[in-house]
Structure formats: C-alpha cells, structure tokens
Assembly symmetry: C2
C-alpha cells in the first residue's frame, strides 16, 4: 500500500513546509491516542485490536460462518451504520459483483438499515423457498431500525423452523454483558459474539460485527486481520515524515485550513462504492461536529465523470480529491481489433481494459489538477482481503489523528440522538410526553 | 405532487420578500427558455417534448420491449451518464427491489458505464446460459466506455447467436442521421431509436433512451409520459407565486447567494437512491461551471442518519436539504406486539412501518432545522410511473430556470472533455501526438 503526495498532485497546492509546520502537532495527537489522554479515550480499543483481538472468538466466528454456509442458502444481516457498512464494503469490494446470483454462494442480504416496508417485503419475497440464517448486530438491541427488522425476522424464523431450530440459525453480535439483545440471547441460547465496549460502531469492521458476514460471503478473514496487523505496525510511528496514514490526516487538515470544505472520495472500480460509504461514516461522524469538519462525498469514476465530472472540473473549487486506486486488476481483458473499426477504437487493440481505466484515471487527475483540484492518491497493489484490512486500519488511524488535530472528540456522535428523540416523541413513546407536547405545539402553530 | 416551502422548514432561514424580489428574474428566465433566447437554446427540445414526442416511435419502443421480453431472459443496456441514469433511476424506484432475482421478470443489467474488467467479466458470468438482448445507447457511438462494452457484447452476441440472429437482438438508440452507431445500425439492419438532436443526455430520460429499458423492466411508459405531460402543463406558468418548480429553483438560488455551497438530496426509501444520482447529474452538470453552482450530494435516510447524520446535524453549516418524500407507501406492514417486549418497541404495536418511517422523517426535519439546516420538501402522493414522469419534468424545468438564474449555460458540459483529451493522448490516439508529448514531459519532470 502506498500513498503519494508528490508534486504532481498536491504540492502545487501547498508548500512542503506546511507539513513540517504541523508535524509536532501530529506527534502530540499520536501520543494522545496511544496514551489515551485525548477526548474520547474510552473508545480506543480499535488501536491495538489487530494484535489484541480475542483469538478464541475469532475461531468461533469462522466456525459459525461455516455452519451458516452449510445450513442456509442465505444469511440476513440485521444492522445499521457501523453494524453493516464495514461488511457490506468488504463483500462488495472482494466478492463477485453479482454475488447473490452466483450458484454455490451463500447469499448475503442486509436488513434493519432502513424503515422501508417495501424493502422488507421484497426481501421476504426473495427469500421464499430458501433456507435462512440471521445475524443481528446491535449493541443495545433497542435501536429502532434493526430492532423492528429483528422482530419481523425472528417471527419469520420461528414460523418457518419452529422455536428450537430457529435458535440454531440466529446469531447475535452485541454487548458483552448488557442490553436487550444480550438478555434475549441468553434466554434463547443464541450463539453470541461481542461488540467490544471500547470500540465504536464506525471502528468495528475488524470485530465480529464485520467479520462474520464477510466470512459467510466466503472472504478469508484471516487475511483481513493479517492486513490490519501489518498496518498496525506500519502506522504506529509518530513521525509524520514516515507515516503515510498521518500524512493523509495532515494533508486533510491543511486543505481544510486553506478553506476546502468537501473531500471527494474517488474510485475507478464499481465494487469500491461501499468502501466510500464506509469511509463517509468514519470521517463524517468522527469530524462533523461543533460546526466543523470536511463534508465527505464520493464518486465512482469513470461512471460519474459523465454526471458529476463537469462540476468537479469546472464548478466551485470547494474540494480536494482522494483517489483510491488499485494498481493491478486481478481480472483482465485484452481489447480485440474490430475489422470495421466503426467506433475508431482500434488504437486500443492489444491493450487491456485496465490499461484504459488507468489512463482514464491519470488523464482525469491531470485534468482536475489543471482545474484547481488537489489530488491525493492512495494505491493498493491489489484488491484482496489483506489490502482491505490494511486500508481499514490506515483510514481508522488517519481519522483519529485528523479529528484530534481538528480539535473535536473523534469518537462520539452526540448529534445522532437528535432525530431519535423527536421520532420517539412523535410516536408517543413513554417518557417523551413533554417533548411530544412541545413538538405538537410547534407543528400546529407553524404548519 | 406538492412542494412545500412553508415557515416550518424554510422561511425561518429567509424572508418571504426574498422570493418576491427575484420573481421578475424568474419570469425573464422562463421567457428565455420558452422563446429560446438564452444560452444553450439549441438544447431545448425537452421543453415541449411531453406534448411533441414522436408517437409512432413511442409505439415502436413498446413493441420492441415486448419483443425483448419474449426473446430474452436478460437485457443488457449499454450507456453512460444520461444514457443510463434515467432508466436506472426509474427501474430502481418502481420495480421490485430484487428485480433481477424474481422469476418471470426480464432481467436488466447495465454495462458500458465503467472501464472495469472485473465488472464486465462478472456480468458475462451472470449471463451464462441466458438468452440476451442488447440496447446500446450512444449519440456518437464513439464514447470510450460504451463503445468498448459494445465491442465486447456485439462479439458475444454474434458468437452466441450467429450474425443473423444477433441482428434481431441488438437495439440501437442513437442520433437520427449522424455518427458511428447510426452508420453501423444502417449496415447491420438493427432496429433503431432516436436521441433527438436538441435534447442533451441529462434531459433524455423521457426519450427512447430511458423509455426502452424501463418498458423492458415492465414499467408502464404510457403513464410515465402522462405524468410528464401533466407536469408540462402545471409548470408552464411564468409566475413564481404559483409555479412550484420555479419556486424550487428560486429557493436554491437564494440559499446559494446566502453562502450555502452544498445541496443534500434526501430520501427515505432505498429505491430512490438512483433518482438522487440522476438528479446529481442534472443539476451538477447543468450548473457546475465557471466556478459556480451548488455541489449536489445525496443521502438515504434513515440508513445514513447512522453514518452522515452526525455531520448533517452538527458539522459545518454548508448545506440545505431537499427531501423527496412519498406520502403513501404502496406496500404496508403492521407492527405486531411482542409478548416479551425485549426491545421496548411495543409502543409501536398497531402502527405501520411507514408510520414510523414518516415520523423518523418529520423528527429528522425538525432536528435539522434546529441544527441550522433549511429543509425543502417535495412530496409525491405515491411512487408510480405517473409521479416519476411528473418528478422528472419538475426537476428538468427547475434546473433550466436555476441555471439560467445563476448566469451559466445550463445545457452545455465543456468540462467533460478535459479528461477525455488527456486519456486519448496518454493512450496514443491519432491526432493527439502533441498533447501526448506535453503530458509525458509533464509527468517525467514532475514524477
């Protein structure tokens, strides 16, 4: 994994001394994180996780995955936010593009990440006639979206299989000791996995939260953890000059201070779409507070060069780009000569599709630099489980440093409660009577 | 279809006189568009299209769709940008969530919208053993992405079916008279449909570009056009006070002038994801030029309330939200009582999922207003073909007015060429020798 901030793409937009100028602050942020003295230090379990994770539980995750593959045609993963984005990102990036349609694969579906009756009804239809297992992922067990979906699917499973057999097909990832889901799992005897107390949702992809669905989809989770461990050692260095993860954090900070307000995550493989979504939660939720933070957005090029490309080239200069590039595609196609050459593309004969994709990327980078868009490049040699694990830890570490530099608590998310409180009040939940009255007054006088 | 800009969500962030103050400019923009006197007036064919479209061709679209449904298990739609986003948006919004996995449906796949060898290889794998038809959509026939995909699929079809039968299965949507694809279609005798000269890609969803794939997916394209026609009459009124489409344009313009730089498109149904992508191209490509324009971004709530929600609630106050809400869900589920009430959600017993989704939306709107985010609300009574057609025209008209108010040419996209020029030079295309030399010098001195 290499990260480049060379003169081609970044240094024409900043002085190299700007990095030097904040290197001591980066060192300070590093120490705050490693010595647990900064804001949010109760949520630093992810830092040493690649070397400290529970190996016995990790083996149970793999065994459970094998059992699910044997017992079922499809796994339904119930979770929202950090409880689904990590595994979704991994599966989309590393599995077959049409994973659920390929014979022999254990299909993986997500639920409990929306409140759409259409979605859940359609999901139940596509599961008809299939053997199903469930992995419900929720720290508390009371988050509305997954709790509603789990009500429906628990009922579905008990009707389909009877209470006894349903118990063998429901897997619970939750708090070690507290909460509604832990209690239910104890009573019912569901197999359980732990969401560690000191790891927040957006940092949980390398725990059973992410690993069990990945393993069921057929991904090699040993290699995911090996990649994360390699990154743990690689990005454990307080020196900005030699730590690429911290360099990414520092450059983000520099462009933010220069007035950029949006970071645009760019990839050239459709399978990376949900890596961008995972990245958005990681950075947006960590930094978007106290009226601060880069607004995280994403595009899939070259697809979106034909939709958002015009804006990126010539619209308001609000942003810089962070390009995730895969150096070597594992699948290749050579472009054939066409005798008629009607499309005029015979000059590509003998090149690979990936050659063309890479030249599109390079051409785009150069065009965007000319258009005033600074361009960070993060390159993976290949896209596989190892580099996915590496990339996850690279971003996690960068996010912690970046948020600390910004002066926020990178590990809380106080703003997520605001809509829930209103929703509960509007729905008449016990204990929200006062809020309900206030909101109804507000709506009636304003409406 | 209703659009609300009431005091609850917008007017606490602006004075009502601000709308009055620009009403004459809106009228002027209206006249420039209807009298074809503004910038880009060669591309106004979409304005009268809902009443002027070629009815004979429209009938041929429907016949071709029926023939494709009869002859094939799957249709591959080859196109990029405006040649795929409209039909993709319609199919995702209006068909089954798992359309391609439901027996009896004609599967619809997209290709030629990326340069990923992985994607195309996986697509060929999922098509194995299936009967296939192709709809290639390109004005010129030489745009790299779809042209490369069409090379591969034309070859695939001729190998699978022989040249003769392949001809019966390839449908071409292209320029009326010019270009490589028109020429090839003439020589091979493919059935063709026209991309009108005076309608740009991002405005083409109501032409055969969008309609043929929609019809193959089983959508009622008569109703799509009926909805567009209704919107044509509804939004044909130069008065800001009575034209909701123009009000949307005006409010965007007002918030832009107040310093907002991002518009966040929000929906609460997962199926609307690609409506947002289509909307991003429409507005981003129309307005993102001359270093101007709102940056278009999108989220799917409540899903993304657990990822981007923190930023939206408490991050930098860069944006306003435009919420697309569906008043009545066509599919409903009543929430059942749970005897144990372990998740504490029994207070929802007897309510529908959609009730909860709507209260989540209302609670979110109120929370975001409290957080300083102005909130526009666009409501469709139901989500169906008619309202989709209506919505498309609503946005098209609003975009034309909005771009005209901004002082740009809303109908060109000069910036899209920049990456192509570099890409062709880097790939060694004839005629780009000078650019190639320049780029290579630049890369060698800087790299």
């Amino acid at each position: 994994m290499t990260v480049s901030f060379d003169s081609t793409n970044v240094l024409s937009f900043m002085n190299s001394s700007e990095l030097d100028n904040i290197s001591e602050f980066v060192k300070q942020a590093h120490h705050q994180i490693h010595q647990q003295t900064g804001p949010g230090s109760d949520y630093l379990g992810w830092v040493d996780w690649p070397i400290n994770y529970d190996k016995e539980e990790f083996d149970r995750v793999k065994l459970a995955a094998t059992r699910i593959q044997q017992q079922s045609d499809a796994l339904v993963v119930i979770g929202i936010g950090g409880s689904y984005l990590g595994s979704k990102a991994a599966i989309e990036a590393l599995s077959h593009t049409f994973h659920n349609q390929i014979k022999g694969n254990t299909e993986v579906y997500f639920a409990g990440h929306n409140i759409s009756s259409t979605y859940i009804e359609h999901l139940l239809q596509v599961l008809e006639g299939k053997d199903v297992s469930i992995n419900v992922i929720s720290k508390s067990g009371t988050t509305t979206e997954p709790a509603l979906a789990f009500r429906i699917f628990r009922n579905f499973m008990e009707k389909k299989y009877g209470k006894e057999e349903a118990r063998n097909r429901i897997y619970v990832t939750t708090d070690q000791s507290k909460g509604a889901l832990r209690k239910l799992a104890g009573e019912e005897g569901y197999e359980t996995f732990v969401i560690p107390n000191d790891i927040g949702g957006r940092y949980s992809v390398l725990t059973p939260v992410g690993l069990l669905p990945m393993a069921v989809a057929g991904l090699n989770v040993d290699q995911v953890m090996d990649g994360a461990t390699a990154a743990y050692h690689k990005y454990n260095d307080p020196n900005l000059a030699t730590n690429a993860s911290y360099q990414y954090a520092a450059v983000r900070n520099i462009f933010y201070n220069k007035g950029k307000s949006v970071e645009l995550f760019v990839s050239y493989e459709p399978g990376l779409h949900f890596v961008a979504e995972w990245w958005k939660q990681l950075f947006g939720e960590s930094e978007g507070k106290d009226e601060k933070g880069l607004f995280p957005a994403s595009v899939n090029f070259s697809t979106d060069l034909h939709s958002m490309g015009q804006y990126v080239q010539e619209g308001r200069r609000l942003f810089f780009e962070t390009v995730l590039q895969i150096k070597h595609s594992s699948i290749e196609r050579i472009i054939q000569e066409d005798p008629d050459n009607i499309d005029g593309l015979n000059f590509l004969t003998g090149k690979t599709m990936d050659d063309v994709n890479k030249k599109a990327a390079l051409g785009t980078t150069l065009a965007h630099i000319d258009g005033g868009v600074p361009n960070l490049l993060i390159e993976l040699d290949e896209l596989n489980e190892f580099t996915f694990g590496e990339l996850v830890y690279f971003f996690e570490k960068a996010c912690a440093i970046s948020g600390t530099l910004l002066g926020v608590n990178p590990f809380d998310q106080p703003g997520v409660e605001a809509y829930k409180k209103n929703m509960f009040a509007l729905l008449g939940k016990d204990g929200f009577e006062k809020e309900k009255e206030e909101l109804e007054n507000r709506l009636s006088t304003l409406g």
